[in-house]
């Protein structure tokens, strides 16, 4: 799908914007639900819950724990493109950006989601949502640049599979360091 000409120029920008919007939608839902969940929980309990979620996800990423986290086991249908050259990619991006409408090959969004749910302010939650969209957009951009003949062609995916452990370590450590810094800096 990524090899389609729709992934060049302004439709690609519409897709990226959709990813950011989708991330913000999920973040908004989490922060609203979190406002209810936080009320009865003292702050140390919230920290403990986020720490537990983070530990579980990291153990899963490291291959120590073998658990299946919930995900939508489906692809966003190509029928979204019936909305046109820009609105189609925009909707595709929104659906993919929510993180709830298609596969989640990593557990890291669950750690980020737990932090947003229990610790983040509204601006911080929205920033995390936009970041989630930007991260997915970065993958699309990088895979298209890496193998212009087809972003999901053998080249990119092959490299991803070959370096899976290193990639898990890099993205996992980026998430952990950011989460610690964000919560500590926000708490001061």
């Amino acid at each position: 799908m990524l090899s389609s000409p729709v992934w060049r120029g302004t439709p690609a920008l519409a897709f990226d914007a959709g990813l950011a919007v989708g991330g913000m939608i999920t973040a908004t839902v989490l922060v609203v639900a979190g406002s209810l969940l936080r009320a009865p929980l003292p702050e140390p309990a919230r920290w403990a819950l986020v720490g537990t979620a983070l530990a579980v996800v990291l153990l899963k990423e490291a291959g120590v724990l073998s658990i299946t986290l919930p995900e939508a086991r489906r692809l966003v249908p190509e029928s979204v493109f019936r909305f046109g050259r820009h609105l189609g990619p925009l909707q595709f991006g929104i659906e993919m950006g929510t993180g709830a409408r298609t596969y989640l090959p990593s557990g890291l969004p669950y750690a980020a989601g737990a932090a947003v749910l229990l610790l983040a302010s509204v601006p911080a939650a929205l920033a995390a949502g936009v970041g989630f969209g930007l991260g997915r957009a970065l993958m699309t951009t990088a895979s298209l640049r890496y193998s212009p003949d087809g972003g999901t062609g053998s080249g990119w995916n092959e490299q991803w599979q070959r370096n899976q452990r290193r990639l898990a370590l890099l993205t996992g450590s980026a998430l952990v360091v950011s989460l610690l810094a964000a919560t500590v800096a926000s708490a001061r």
């Binding site: 930007l134 991260g135 997915r136 950011s178 500590v184 800096a185």
Partner: protein, 80 residues
Amino acid sequence: MGSSTGGTAAVRRRRWHPVRVAGAVSAASFGLAGAALATSGLAASDGTARPGWLAVGAWLAVGVWLMMGAAAGFAVSGST
């Protein structure tokens, strides 16, 4: 001509290699996290209000949430 095109493709593939992109995200996360902690530490160290530092610290704190989301987003996109 052919080797020049091949060379350009090789450079592009190195530049956009998934490990390199993930490394850039991680480096940005570490830098921003360090800056956010250092700035919030400066703001809180002597107890006096420093609006400028506080504002910078708050924006950096939002920035690290952004990078946390970006790391999570990039991580789930590998095989979709």
